[in-house]
């Protein structure tokens, strides 16, 4: 039986998005206080109620303490040592526009007409501002609103007022409160009653400036019987200092609506020694408000030096469905503490959790999840499968699930396994004439298949590529 030689190790392809763009940017001086929040609000030309909303969140945040329960360690974050706003100075100038186009082109984000052919509308966020949103007009014809959250606050205040902070309240947790106070940009999607969004809506987040934090805020509302598939991508330059990304994403599905939310998270993960990389502290939550609604989260987490993320679904409407499909890959000294929460309130609600963790190098990879069946959730059903694969002897894989059940008609099942990459499988594949490197990739791919098949096609191709592992033999 072939043993992976102890002196060989599996490595991923070099981070391809580590470049930075030469675009003149203005950043706020470092520091955080009420003045900074007022200044952000003023930059965004926000109405007074929004400024007050931010300030209220900030005051709550000041009284809160940073959570210590996640299974990650990092040096204390100095919130006064971060710049909370950074944007290209002359966004309209042709040079900047060209450079921005070049940047997103290099990242593989279709901002041109080509995008239309690819069947995707893109909102591109560069540091603290949305620089372009494509296909807005075409979508508007159907009554779909797809724009940056900044624009939404100005143009559609009644919708924002009605839904913002209703799924993740401003003081939900430490990072959500911080985000509510200082969020800069993100996407707003509104799909009116009965409309099936014809293209995939997508947001691409790019961090470029040094020492800034990115605070993204996304709000997606699907009215009765509407449907949308939303995809999100993110990258950042390779730098030796860590940067903070604290996002809040809220999804609201009304009666019969369906939201499919897919993420490929590929922030810079830091170097071999754990220097630099993005701290990705994210609150993502969906609310199935109406009967027969459905929210599905699919995530491929391959970046960030630290991930703290639990995309959740509150299943309130009867017969509503929540899904969570996740692949979390960690190597080098990455730390991921990720999972989901499924809160069953309505009758006949169903949830499925499929989580695949792969840890390599000296990384820590934890699954943390909650399945809560309330007394009211008659005939609720949950199935959870979380598997961990370990590559190398120095990584850690933890699983911390919680199942709470208070209804006699509910059924929950939870299964988890942790094991090494299967030597039998490797042996079989190599015996068919396939080299070891491809064999490893095939096994890893097969391990993640349940999740990849949920991704939109282009994403799934990208995800497979991101997880390709190379075997590096040390010579000697």
């Amino acid at each position: 039986m072939p043993q992976l030689e102890t002196d060989s190790k599996l490595i991923r392809e070099e981070y391809r998005y580590g470049f930075s763009s030469d675009i003149p940017e203005e950043s706020f001086p470092k520091g955080l206080n009420e003045e900074v929040i007022r200044a952000i609000s003023a930059k965004k030309k926000e109405p007074e109620w929004m400024t007050d909303w931010r300030l209220k969140a900030f005051r709550r945040w000041q009284k809160m303490t940073e959570p210590t329960w996640p299974d990650v360690t990092y040096p204390p974050i100095d919130y006064q040592d971060i710049s909370y706003f950074s944007a290209p100075t002359q966004q309209e100038s042709p040079e900047t526009q060209e450079e921005l186009m070049k940047t997103f082109e290099r990242l593989g984000v279709p901002l041109h007409e080509r995008g239309r052919l690819a069947g995707v509308a893109v909102d591109a966020v560069f540091d603290s501002v949305s620089v372009i949103t494509t296909q807005k007009e075409a979508l508007a014809e159907k009554g779909i609103i797809f724009c940056s959250i900044t624009e939404a606050i100005q143009e559609h205040p009644e919708l924002v007022k009605k839904y913002l902070g209703t799924v993740v309240p401003p003081a939900d947790n430490y990072f959500a409160a911080l985000n509510s106070a200082v969020f800069t940009d993100g996407s707003f999607c509104y799909i009116p009653k009965g409309v099936r969004c014809p293209v995939e809506l997508s947001t691409y987040f790019r961090i470029n400036a040094i020492d800034t934090g990115q605070f993204e805020r996304t709000l997606i509302v699907c009215e009765d019987d509407a449907y949308v598939s939303y995809i999100e991508g993110c990258t950042a330059p390779s730098r030796d200092r860590s940067q903070l990304h604290a996002a809040v994403v809220e999804l609201i599905a009304l009666e019969g609506a369906e939201i499919k939310y897919s993420t490929v998270q590929n922030w810079y993960a830091g170097d071999e020694e754990g220097r630099g990389g993005i701290y990705n502290f994210v609150t993502k939550r969906g609310h199935c408000r109406g009967a027969r609604s459905k929210i599905s989260w699919t995530q491929v987490e391959v970046g960030s030096s630290i991930t703290w993320k639990y995309p959740s679904v509150i299943l309130e409407g009867d017969h509503s469905i929540g899904e969570f499909y996740s692949v979390a890959f960690t190597d080098k000294k990455m730390q991921a503490d990720t999972g989901t929460k499924m809160i069953h309130v309505g009758k006949h609600t169903r949830s499925t959790i499929v989580s695949k963790g792969i840890s390599a190098g000296r990384s820590r990879n934890s699954y943390r999840g909650l399945v809560q069946i309330n007394e009211s959730a008659d005939h609720a059903r949950n199935h959870t499968q979380c598997d961990s694969m370990l590559i190398g002897a120095t990584c850690t894989a933890n699983t911390y699930p919680v199942v709470e059940c208070a209804n006699e008609t509910a059924i929950t099942e939870h299964e988890a396994t942790t094991s090494k990459i299967s030597e039998e499988q490797l042996f079989y594949i190599t015996s068919r004439g396939i080299d070891e490197e491809s064999a490893v990739s095939l096994v890893v791919n097969g391990f993640c298949k349940d999740v990849f098949k949920e991704l939109p096609m282009e994403f799934s191709v990208e995800a497979i590529k991101l997880l390709e592992l190379k075997l590096e033999h040390s010579v000697g």
């Binding site: 961990s388 002897a393 208070a406 006699e408």
Partner: protein
């Protein structure tokens, strides 16, 4: 859960410094020294609070120290009481409010097949192991150390190398004094190649308010095989806290069954370290919380060495307003390759209003191993119910059969018809 030990000096009411001085004044020299070691740890351990992850679902303030008194004077009683179960064992230790009695039914003590004595008279050569407390995987636990300092009935049992006990040892607790605190402690050492069974059985009347804070340390030496069964049938007015620890060495095996049926409020910890190559642990549990019962159990399957095995199966049911919490951890230490660990927790939720929480966890620091867990929750399978009804059973009868069948997998592990029938009767009564 935290590894750091803080200086806290917070005592449980009635278990402070002055009480301790009074206690050791009446103890023998060796006993006092051993208690002192535990007391020093006890004073340093943080007091569990609702903010601790482990205690989030089980309020430690519900453990009623205030107004309760440590049971004193549990010395040797002249005449032992008898029980039908006794005849199935080689040796019986019976403990009641009047004191304890040791009945050597088959003469194993005289034959040198076992050593049994009060913990205060532990042989000097075993003292090192005891003081070191190698089996105690989490030394900063307040209740374990409280028990170590203040235990009021404790026994040391040693099975010498290569001795085989045909029937085993029974320890019976029967208490009736209201407002008393019992702190039983048990140290079992199964020396290399020995085979033995130790059964503990707790009973009290339903209306007697009683608190039991127990601790056990079990040492299974090379190629020894130890079977441990604990049957907790305290009355519903009582509270039970148990923290039990085992260490299994090379080629050794432990078969450990924990049955929790009684007491209104209980919190238990079962920690087992399969510490050397080829060590094996089979951990089983049965629990049934009905009416207002609260049962919280935490298990730790620690694999500190390569090529070790553990298999856990805990089955529980909740009914009425019962609430059960199961928290399980499989922990594989760095370098613990070739480990095979499994953990399964099945829960039956018999009516809405009852609640079961399951927190199965894996903490893996090595790569070449296989660890898995599963947890299920649900009611009786309606197809099975339908099938039995179609064969002429009433719904009530069919339900009863299926609940008993659910538990049978654990009950059968007792391997003693008297005990098995007794547990079946308990379960049957709880089904109502």
């Amino acid at each position: 859960m935290t590894a750091t030990i803080e200086q806290t000096d917070v005592w449980f009411p009635g278990f402070g410094e002055s009480e301790f001085s009074n206690l050791i004044a009446g103890c023998g020299e060796q006993d006092a020294a051993a208690r002192k070691v535990a007391f020093d740890r006890y004073r340093l351990c943080p007091v569990p609070t609702l903010r601790d992850e482990e205690w989030r679902r089980t309020d430690p303030d519900r453990i009623p120290f205030a107004g309760m008194k440590r049971l004193e004077g549990l010395d040797r009683a002249a005449d032992p009481d008898r029980n039908d179960l006794d005849q199935a064992f080689d040796l019986v230790i019976s403990i009641s409010d009047r004191g304890y009695a040791i009945t050597d039914r088959t003469g194993i003590l005289a034959e040198g097949k076992a050593q049994v004595c009060p913990l205060s008279q532990m042989p000097a050569d075993a003292l090192g192991t005891y003081l070191h407390g190698e089996a105690v995987l989490e030394a900063n636990r307040k209740y374990t150390q409280l028990n170590g300092a203040f235990w009021n009935v404790g026994f040391f049992i040693r099975i010498p190398a290569n001795q085989v006990l045909a029937h085993g040892i029974l320890i019976r607790y029967e208490h009736t004094t209201p407002g008393s605190i019992l702190l039983p402690r048990l140290v079992v050492v199964a020396e290399a190649g020995s085979v033995a069974k130790v059964v503990e059985w707790y009973q009290s009347p339903d209306d007697v308010k009683l608190l039991c804070v127990g601790a056990r340390e079990l040492y299974v030496r090379e190629a020894a095989r130890l079977t441990v069964q604990a049957v907790q049938e305290w009355g519903v007015a009582s509270t039970h806290v148990g923290e039990d620890w085992a260490r299994v060495e090379k080629d050794g095996q432990i078969d450990w069954v924990t049955l929790t049926l009684g007491s209104g409020f209980s919190k238990m910890m079962v920690g087992c370290d399969v510490a050397e190559a080829n060590a094996n642990a089979y951990l089983s549990g049965l629990f049934f919380a009905n009416e207002h019962q609260h049962i919280d159990q935490r298990t730790l399957q620690k694999h500190s060495a390569p090529h070790t095995y553990s298999n856990l199966l805990y089955k529980g049911a909740v009914k009425d307003s019962g609430h059960s919490v199961y928290q399980g951890v499989i922990a594989a230490a760095p370098g613990a390759i070739g480990v095979d660990a499994y953990q399964m927790n099945n829960n039956l939720i018999l009516n809405t209003g009852a609640r079961a929480d399951s927190l199965p966890g894996l903490m893996i620091d090595a790569d070449d191993l296989k660890c898995s867990h599963g947890a299920t929750m649900g009611n009786i399978d309606p197809h099975q119910l339908f099938y039995l009804q179609s064969r002429g059973f009433s719904e009530v009868e069919a339900r009863r059969m299926l609940v008993l069948a659910f538990f049978e997998e654990i009950i059968a592990k007792l391997n003693d018809s008297f005990l098995e029938d007794r547990i079946r009767a308990d379960v049957n009564r709880k089904i109502g």
